[in-house]
């Protein structure tokens, strides 16, 4: 088989803004894609994977420039082509599917105009022919009512549909190579499966080759033939899917594999009943309604939570799972008092807790701490780590300066960071380090409950896994209760004692983890379980045939 695309010793430099200096972000990467083959580029943020994928089209992102190496597509040296020559192959011979279809479609133009434009801009047949291919592919992508959905504007169709329409656009001129840049990452798990399957079929049917960029190994296992692992702009290793998944050679790849949690179905086994008797509840949420906007007859204009009742046993880990819009983060805000409920009540250690932060006593506040999702914005950028950690010590525990300093060092040790971190500003820390400090700040209050709102979702897989390990360790050491909110069922299943499944602002079901994961399942739980991709070849087909 002849190589369709060959990349040799590719180097790319980038800069943050027009005044910043250039630095190398891709450092001599070589790879090859054969006809009809799907190569996955995987790596964590900053690995340079989408930058490399775009280089195959001769395109450097704004602020980036090529500084070495070559890209051969067929017999064309892509980097040496003129703009006009590059234009001539883009869209028709190599085409691109972006991560966010919502941002990548032009809001002012109708979808069909944008889809057929690929062919028409290159004189690839008539408009009627392009339209025919569009509708045909839309049908094969299982889009509802294909003739009509393409006549709409981007904001008029759903996210999952839009992502599929982006693939319809990319395929319109029958390209030889498809570049897919995290095409399902922005979607909810339950939507992701359908879209993934549609992509896989389309690639197979068209016989096109593809570069599939992703950070998700389970996704790769479904669609790719070969895997190319990247780290910091350099190649770690490359091999077939089987080789990389089952026999990784490099330590980094091994770590990457280890960080992937086994899918929840396989968790069943000797059931350990949730520790702590059911009667000993730290927090008892009873019939809570909450939402935003003006209140009309005591009920908010936009109601997010409907009649939520959740029991949180002392010393346990309670996992709250749901997709975007399920109200799980709102729940955390309600418990923490940031958003007072419009109905129902919350009990802390059996006593009714005022709904609003302002009406809670300082001791009540101390007993519940919240850790937010985005480590980058969780800290006042103008204060040092030490100052951030000292404040709760001063505020809740009235420690003097001396004791605060000792305690900060202890807290940092608890989250496995050296005490020198106290003098650093948070923005100098890596994402994982910030999230550790974030936990330390919650621990500083010596709370009974820590609410963790998607604390790993902004982190890379390996780092996220380390944070989960840390949470487990802290739970054993301190006996603090964790409410762990996440969209990732595998993570929750791996360490929660109890699971709460939320959908559309309501609790679908809740119970000990074993019970939830053992059939018979609630319908929605079943859907969630089926949607978590497994890191093995053939899973996607099994799910679809089931």
């Amino acid at each position: 088989m002849t190589a369709l695309l060959r990349v040799n010793g590719l180097r790319i430099e980038g800069r943050r803004n027009t005044r910043a200096p250039y630095s190398e972000i891709v450092r001599g990467v070589s790879l090859q894609v054969d006809r009809g083959e799907v190569l996955a580029l995987i790596g964590e943020s900053g690995a340079g994977k989408s930058t490399i994928a775009l280089a195959s089209m001769g395109y450097a992102k704004p602020g980036c420039r090529f500084s070495g190496g070559e890209v051969m597509f067929d017999d064309l040296s892509v980097l040496d082509l003129s703009l006009e020559q590059k234009r001539a192959i883009r869209g028709v011979r190599i085409s691109y599917v972006a991560q966010s279809a919502a941002a990548s479609f032009n809001a002012s133009l109708r979808l069909d105009d944008q889809i057929t434009e690929v062919s028409l801009a290159h004189g690839f047949g008539t408009r009627a022919e392009a339209e025919e291919r569009m509708v045909d592919l839309a049908r094969r992508m299982q889009l509802p009512d294909p003739e009509h959905i393409v006549r709409k504007y981007p904001h008029q169709v759903s996210g999952g549909q839009l992502q599929r329409l982006m693939a319809v656009m990319a395929m319109n001129a029958r390209p030889d190579l498809l570049v897919l840049d995290e095409p399902t990452t922005a979607l909810d798990v339950t939507t992701q499966v359908e879209v993934l399957a549609a992509f896989k079929d389309t690639i197979r049917d068209s016989g096109a080759a593809a570069i599939y960029v992703t950070h998700d190994l389970a996704v790769v296992a479904q669609v790719a033939d070969r895997i190319h692992v990247l780290l910091g702009g350099e190649t770690v290793e490359e091999g077939t899917v089987e080789e990389i998944l089952h026999n990784p050679q490099e330590p980094y790849t091994k770590r990457l594999m280890a960080a992937v949690r086994p899918p929840p179905k396989h968790c069943s086994g000797g059931a350990v009943a949730g520790n702590g008797a059911a009667s000993d509840l730290v927090i008892d949420v009873r019939g809570v309604d909450a939402g935003y906007g003006k209140k009309i007859d005591g009920s908010p204009a936009v109601k997010i939570l409907h009649d939520i009742s959740i029991e949180i046993p002392r010393g346990s880990v309670v996992g709250v799972i749901g997709e975007s819009g399920s109200g799980k983060s709102t729940l955390a805000r309600v418990i923490s008092g940031l958003l007072p409920p419009s109905a129902g009540e919350i009990r802390l250690d059996g006593e009714a807790l005022p709904g609003d932060v302002k009406s809670r006593s300082r001791d009540q506040l101390r007993r519940i701490q919240i850790v937010m999702q985005m480590p980058d914005v969780a800290f006042n950028p103008l204060k040092t780590v030490g100052e951030a950690l000292e404040r709760p010590l001063e505020f809740y525990l009235q420690m003097d300066a001396e004791r605060r300093r000792t305690r900060v060092a202890e807290l940092l040790r608890m989250v496995e960071l050296p005490p020198e971190f106290a003098t650093r500003r948070p923005q100098a820390l890596s994402g994982g380090q910030k999230q550790r400090v974030n936990l330390a700040r919650a621990l500083a209050a010596e709370p009974e409950v820590i609410l963790c709102d998607e604390v790993t979702s902004a982190l890379d897989t390996v780092v996220g896994a380390q944070i989960i390990d840390l949470l487990k360790k802290l739970q054993t050491e301190t006996g603090v209760t964790f409410v762990f909110i996440s969209h990732d069922l595998s993570t929750i299943a791996s360490f929660a004692d109890k699971v709460v499944v939320m959908y559309g602002g309501e609790v679908m079901e809740q119970g000990p983890t074993e019970e939830i994961l053992t059939p018979p399942h609630h319908d929605y739980t079943q859907l969630l379980l089926n949607s978590v991709p497994e890191m093995r070849v053939g899973w996607l087909e099994e799910v679809r045939n089931a």
Binding site: T18, L54, M57, Y59, K61, P62, L83, K86, R87, A88, I89, R90, G91, V92, S95, Y96, A98, S100, A103, S104, F105, N106, A107, S108, L109, E117, V118, A121, H122, K152, Y153, H155, Q156, M169
Partner: protein, 316 residues
Amino acid sequence: MLGMLILRRIALGLATLFIVSLIVFAGTEVLPGDVAAAVLGQGATPETLAAYRAEMNLDRPAYERYAEWFFGLFTGDLGNSLATQRPVADIIAPRLPKTLMLGGFAALFAVPLAVGLGLYAAMRPGSWFDRSLTTGSIAVVSAPEFLVATLLVLAFAVELRWLPAIARISTDAGFWEIVVALTMPVLTLTAAVLAPMMRMTRSAILNVLSQPSIEMAILKGVPRRTIILKHALPNAIAPIINVIAVNLAYIIGGVLVVETIFSYSGVAKLMVDGVASRDIPVVQACAMFFCAIYILFNLMADVVSILANPRLRHAK
């Protein structure tokens, strides 16, 4: 839904105009305490003051006078000038077209030039052209209008003697006469409004060009011309219109200075003289004229933005 939004925006514009009229009236009538004393000077006896107040209706409660004045705005009854005793409407009427012509010419000249230059610079960010235009525009925007005007007068009226230093347009002026009289005033106004308008246009276009949908169009292999005209421009219309409306404030500010320097007998000159002599009815009428124009243009800009928004135009 679209119609409702536009109607609501128009209602808001009318409400703003109403509030502005309240402020204009309050600012010029209620607060100064004793208009009569201000007009008649220190030599006035209590009797003449009282007689004057009665004549000018100043002895009636403020809200009554406001209501009368407010409805007068619509019927054209703007009261009498304190200085000349002539009806304000008669004084303003012949001046209106002059000011509108001056501002109109300046806008006709400056807007296409500013938008064109801004567009051209935005397409070449960091280039020699872009950098000199950016730095140059900072210089122009920093110069007070009267510096520009004085230098123009010095060059074209005093030294070269090509143009008159005073812009006078007779009632039966021909086209050429108008052009000669208005060249320097229009140039001064253009200088005042060109730089900010150009800079804002540039950044509005740059903002559109850095959106992912434009990157997608590049990666689809769409020709550059089509990218600009079909993909970028529709999304840039609303921000550009907004830029133009915002910058009208500079034209209004500039007109005050320009009409004064060139002794151009428009509404702005009338207002400046009115403020100096505390001729309250004149100031009120002129202020309402300028504010109404300003609010009207902002209203139009918002309506265009609503119309240009595909999310609103094509409801789900």
